[in-house]
Amino acid sequence: MAEVSGPMAGASGPAADLTGTRLDPVRQPGYRAGPVIHWIRFLCSELSLIFLRWRNLALLAVLAAIPVLIGVALKLSASPAGGGSGQGPAFIGQVAGNGVFLALLSLTVLLTLVLPLVVAVVAGDSVAGEAGHGTLRYLLAIPAGRTRLLGIKYVAVVIFCLAACGVVTAMSLAMGAALFPVGPVTLLSGTTISLGAGLLRLVFVTLYVAGAMAALAAIGLAVSTLTEHPIGAIAAVLVLALASEVTDSVPQFAVVHPYLPTHWWLSFDALLRSPIAWPELLHGLTSFGIYVIIFGAIAWARFTTADVTS
């Protein structure tokens, strides 16, 4: 690219030699803020787009409403004999005894469909939505920078994942405390820890689930760079997640189970043992990390080279 030829060289004359070393003559005067400040400003703009959008707020409201529903249903059906006879999801039997478990129950229930759906909507929309609106071409012409834009998009979606999981946990805790007794937490391994220690474990569980969702979001981001139709991207991510869950439930496919994106999602119960079941936990976190790296790389490779014709 350094050497130009033909009429172009003729037209640019001696200045062409300076091309590589030319400094920008016009910059906004006196302004030399670091890249971090610009990064944060852009991220805040991205976050406000995500969190001030009615659709996304409605999704968060659904996430907040489901723990309420579960809590009320359990309160109404709570028989003194205890319904936890092995039927239904994990933790269902413990909720009546300790409201803290409502959070674990809610996360378990929501992880099967609603949380992946919410994350798929926001992640699938991230790039495809901008492309579909045509705003992507303006962002790139500003220039936002392709790698920078993709990075901002992903960080914003991960923050949304954290918020989504946080909403579930916070709402469940509030409902659990309102409807059921709350006290020291008996772990799955039988030991009892203080309420404070139990809540700390719950925070880690929430972070773990958010990590699982961040891995799904990386898949969503990659899919999102492939199309300018956000609905298509959202549907594709959701279908991928559901297909993975179905495959995970078929024993004949046991060989591939550890490699499925959804396989380790419910392994957060490793955090509810004493001592913590580190091998399983690390397996899960490694799986999420690998998915983030692979699909992040796919998204980057695609997005930094794609022709933007929308």
């Binding site: 172009m8 004359g13 300076l18 910059r27 906004q28 610009h38 400003r41 220039p143």
Partner: protein, 344 residues
């Protein structure tokens, strides 16, 4: 078309100043000596994956400070060229420079000095006009957060949208949307403005305003590269033109050079058109036509004053003599093909 188009009726009394001007498709006189051109491409081509050659080896040369009209029928490759200039689409081959910086490699450094409007406005419909500009400003690494408010207001003011700044974008009329897009291009100091069909969808008042705005911006020293399929538009604001046809740049030069390309006719108003036609034919002129009270012919290389003298000498009562220049529209159609024959 006919309402705003002035070229068709233009007749210059015996003007032959540009008869000998040769079109120089590859060169434009450098307005700013020494400075790198605003836009320079060489052999720039784009073949899309479907195999379609959208842009075929074009050599654009846009010198600093000019208003360059980028003409061509729909589908002739104008927008693809603009997308390549802005680094949105990767060229299949060829080199391109914006303000002396190689693109798309230098996109992150040079594009902040370039304002653009590509294929119509695109904004977030749920945000207000002002919030939309703030969003784009936040994406700009070179923009100062502390002056954002003032710059956004100034840009809105410049396009006359200050009073609608807090209105939702979805409530904007088409003209307001278009003006907001121009405002987005004016958020920072720009050396080059690339505008793709800036008056699309505007009413006559809006079109006038945008024209005035472009003139004002150009007067401030900013180079303006404006694509259009409206000839009247280009004729009024541009100093230079490039004409595209099916991906090829078929003409590049000043507006005068484009006009000079056309074959000028000589038109004699007289009470004896038949006699005048005889004289014109006798002088060896082509395509002689006699009408009710006028005769005309292709002027060719003949000086019009010579033709006039011959007519008078032959006793033709010459009531008026004119050398109407071919309208820009005629030239455009000559260059780009007729109506449904437009290839592509």
């Amino acid at each position: 078309m006919s309402a705003g188009y002035r070229g068709a009726g233009q007749r210059d009394e015996i003007s032959f100043g540009n008869l000998g001007a040769e079109p120089l498709p590859d060169k434009i006189s450098q307005a700013a000596g020494g400075a790198s051109p605003a836009i320079a491409t060489s052999g720039l081509s784009k073949r899309f994956r479907g195999g379609q050659l959208a842009v075929d080896s074009i050599d654009l040369a846009v010198s600093r400070g000019c208003v360059y009209g980028f003409l061509g029928p729909n589908g002739s490759g104008k927008t693809t060229t603009i997308r390549m200039l802005l680094g949105l689409v990767q060229p299949t081959s060829g080199d391109q420079e914006l303000l002396g910086v190689s693109m798309p490699a230098g996109a992150n450094t040079v594009l902040s000095r370039v304002g653009s409007l590509v294929e119509g406005p695109a904004f977030y419909s749920q945000l207000s006009g002002k919030a939309n500009l703030a969003r784009y400003d936040a994406a700009d690494r070179t923009a100062d957060r502390r002056t954002a408010e003032a710059r956004i207001s100034a840009a809105l003011d410049r396009v006359g949208l200050l009073s609608a700044a807090r209105k939702h974008y979805r409530a904007y009329s088409l003209g307001m949307k278009q003006r907001l897009a121009i405002a987005a291009g004016l958020l920072g100091p720009r050396e080059l403005l690339i505008l793709d069909e800036p008056t699309n969808g505007l009413d006559p008042q809006g079109t006038r305003e945008v024209r005035g705005l472009i003139r004002e911006i150009a007067a401030g020293g900013t180079t303006v590269f404006v694509s259009s399929h409206l000839l009247a538009e280009v004729e009024q604001i541009c100093s230079h033109v490039g004409v595209m046809r099916t991906g090829k740049l078929v003409f590049q030069g000043t507006l005068e050079q484009l006009r000079g390309r056309g074959a000028t006719r000589i038109l004699v108003r007289t009470a004896q058109p038949a006699r005048a036609a005889e004289v014109l034919a006798g002088l060896g002129l082509q395509d002689v036509q006699a009408g009710q009270d006028e005769a005309s012919a292709q002027l060719g290389e003949q000086p019009p004053e010579e033709v006039c003298a011959q007519l008078v000498h032959a006793g033709v009562p010459v009531a008026g003599l004119a050398t109407p220049r071919p309208s820009l529209e005629d030239l455009f159609v000559q260059l780009t093909g007729e109506g449904f024959d437009v290839d592509g």
